[in-house]
């Protein structure tokens, strides 16, 4: 563009007056306002949804809150529900940080549970100190391989990771069904698609009596802490963050981006796999699809609400764990089906996305000078 055309364009803009433009990222205040607006919006929309079902929103919400956070025991069980969501949330957050759209946490949870069960179900009487590490390592390897498979499909076969991970989610669910329905792992004499109970020594120990709070929650918190440190203070963490902003620049700088993509996908898969461990060995004590289904998809919501930050993921997972936990009391007391929370989760996500986007717009008044960014760009053009 010649300078004359540039200034002409600027004139046209100025005459148009007020303009709305979007910043790269909202300010901290904007983010807080966005969160509050999202909460308010989600509250109102969910209330309307309850009204369509002929239920009293206030009644339902108060029971939801009471069931989720109302007592020490409720809190402990909320932590149990939050545990797998922390793992899948961290898995998704890591991949999304590198702008790898891993939708496959769902399948990677399955892969982890299958691998852990495959390696340890024969070790009935072995001491817990032997079984526990074996279960964790086997699950992480299983999840890493399954996540890595989507990585290889991307790096070597140019298959978009969104599509491949979703397809793999369906494939492995059928795979598990094959192992469990009249398959090699079916419970002897059982009708259901499930394995027999795992050995007592393989169960994750309960931390507080009379609750279901198990060791998995502590592992989840430690994992989140570790990930925070790794992202902020290691070369790998730097590369993940850099890949998120500009993968090509990272390649020019000399990083092997193929290796990085594979590493991120494998690590993400390994993190998701731990959700399989927490549910199979911490809660259900047997392997069946109902124990592990759905956490991967909810993990995506958790990761986004947590701003792709490990500690944010923990906070969002506890909130959602409370919703899941409270929904049982809500169903008993008010008759509103507990499936409501899946709709609420989606509504929260949409409200958050909209509020976040709205907070990143700003209105520029007419007559002001152009911001420095645009002058810079004009100079280069």
């Amino acid at each position: 563009m010649t300078p004359d055309v540039m200034s002409a364009a600027a004139l046209v803009d100025r005459r148009r007056g007020w303009r709305i433009e979007r910043r790269a990222d909202p300010s901290a205040v904007g983010w807080l306002v966005a969160l509050l607006l999202a909460a308010l919006g989600a509250f109102i929309l969910s209330g309307l949804l309850l009204a369509t079902a002929g239920a009293s929103p206030l009644d339902a919400f108060s029971n939801l809150a009471k069931g989720g956070f109302g007592s020490g025991r409720a809190l402990a069980n909320t932590a149990v529900k939050a545990t797998p969501l922390i793992f899948t949330g961290l898995a998704t957050a890591l991949a999304f940080r590198a702008r790898l759209w891993n939708i496959g946490a769902e399948g990677q949870v399955f892969a982890g549970a299958i691998a852990a069960y495959a390696c340890t179900h024969a070790l009935d009487a072995a001491p817990a100190l032997l079984q526990m590490p074996l279960i964790l390592v086997a699950a992480m390897i299983g999840g890493a391989l399954f996540g890595g498979l989507a990585g290889v499909l991307k790096t070597h076969f140019k298959v978009d990771e969104v599509i491949s991970t979703v397809m793999l989610n369906y494939i492995i669910a059928f795979g598990l069904s094959m192992l469990l329905l009249k398959g090699p792992w079916s419970e002897a004499g059982g009708f259901f698609e499930q394995t027999a109970k795992v050995a007592v020594n393989a169960e994750l120990p309960i931390l507080i009596d009379k609750t279901r709070l198990h060791l998995g929650f502590v592992i989840a918190l430690v994992t989140a802490g570790l990930m925070q440190v790794v992202l902020a203070h290691t070369p790998f963490g730097y590369e993940v963050r850099a890949a998120g902003s500009n993968l090509r620049a990272l390649a020019f700088q000399g990083t092997n981006t193929t290796r990085l993509v594979l590493l991120v996908m494998a690590t993400s898969g390994a993190l998701a796999a731990l959700a399989g461990v927490s549910e199979v060995y911490g809660v259900h004590h047997r392997l069946h699809a109902a124990a592990i289904v759905g956490y991967g998809y909810t993990g995506i919501v958790i990761a986004i609400l947590g701003r792709l930050q490990p500690l944010g993921v923990v906070a969002a997972a506890i909130l959602f764990g409370g919703l899941v936990n409270g929904s049982t009391l809500m169903q008993i007391k008010t008759g509103v089906p507990s499936t409501l929370i899946y709709a609420i989760q989606a509504i929260i996500l949409i409200c958050y996305l909209v509020a976040w986007a709205a907070a990143s717009f700003r209105i520029r008044r007419p007559g002001r000078t152009t911001p420095s960014g645009e002058i810079g760009r004009a100079g280069h053009g």
């Binding site: 076969f157 397809m167 986007a357």
Partner: protein, 313 residues
């Protein structure tokens, strides 16, 4: 047993089933082809189809009219994609994330409303679904008649939509403008034509088609609505758009290929060949990955696919 598969009646029934099964994914994939040609990647198809299926079911149940049900399905699809369009076109939210949010919304709302709408009944109610509408004279043609011309109305509509969408995209002015937006939106903007408006139109059309695809699953072919009954068809439609290189003719070929696999799998289960049925069920998804891996032709995607248009850049 394998030779059973080659008997004439069986071949005809497999091919007729192929055409029938192709209907929902073909409708959805054609709509998505138009949306993606304009540069918008709607990954919320699974949720959009599901809501379309649900609305079509409820619409038919309430009014007793299958036509009203089908319209309700299409309208619901359009509504879902209007939400999507507002989020990604106006607010420029990440398209992948928004699509996933839409899927969760569709799954959550349809399940919740199903539970609350029929809370008193112990079994979910059923509707009378559309039967076959044989085309006079043509249905009598040997082989072709029973395969092509004894289908339901929505199936005819889906196959008719292939040349229509092709004509629209490649032979009309609006179609040219739409494809231009997917490649070089600035060119259209400088002519004073609205990029955003055309993208809205393309995405909402895509949503209505996905809603129709969903409607086929209930009113078109089954008496009840089951939570998550789309079972990955929305995602398969996305695969088909890519495998069909964003051209209606190839999209049709890809849709027929996948539905043939599905039809074959039903037939194999039917005659009792001893193979774990889960392998057959997983087959379309395995083939989807393999076909994308073998093709490696993302270069043909619209250049601006997934990128919001910002005037000042």
């Amino acid at each position: 047993m394998v030779e059973d598969l080659f008997q004439a009646t069986i071949v005809i029934s497999v091919l007729a089933a192929t055409i029938r099964i192709a209907t929902p994914i073909l409708l959805t994939a054609l709509g998505e082809t138009v949306a993606q040609r304009s540069g918008v990647y709607n990954m919320g198809l699974e949720g959009t189809m599901l809501m379309g299926a649900f609305a079509a079911f409820i619409g038919t149940y309430q009014t007793g009219s299958q036509g009203a049900g089908v319209l309700a399905g299409a309208a619901m699809g359009a509504l879902m994609s209007t939400i999507f369009a507002f989020m990604v076109i106006t607010l420029r939210i990440e398209q992948i994330v928004t699509g996933l949010a839409l899927n969760l919304l569709g799954a959550g709302l349809s399940t919740f409303w199903l539970r609350t709408a029929f809370a008193e009944q112990s079994v979910t109610p059923t509707i009378a679904f559309m039967g076959a509408a044989p085309i006079p004279y043509l249905e009598g043609i040997p082989w072709l008649g029973p395969i092509l011309f004894r289908q339901g109305l929505l199936t005819y509509l889906a196959f008719l939509a292939v040349p229509l969408v092709w004509f629209f995209l490649f032979r009309t002015r609006f179609g040219l403008e739409l494809r231009c937006i997917g490649e070089n939106p600035k060119a259209l903007d400088t002519k004073g034509l609205s990029v955003q408006g055309r993208r809205y139109a393309a995405v909402i059309f895509g949503g209505a088609m996905a809603g129709l695809g969903g409607a086929f699953l209930t009113v078109g072919s089954s008496a009840r609505f089951v939570p998550d009954m789309t079972a990955g068809r929305g995602w398969l439609a996305l695969v088909i758009v890519i495998a069909g290189v964003w051209r209606p003719g190839y999209v049709l070929t890809a849709a027929l290929f996948f539905s043939f696999l599905d039809a074959l799998q039903l037939q194999i289960q039917g005659i009792g060949i001893n193979l774990p049925h889960q392998i057959l069920l997983a087959l379309p998804y395995i083939v989807a990955i393999l076909s994308l891996a073998l093709m490696r032709q993302n270069a043909k995607a619209p250049a601006m696919l997934g990128t919001p248009y910002i005037r000042d850049r």
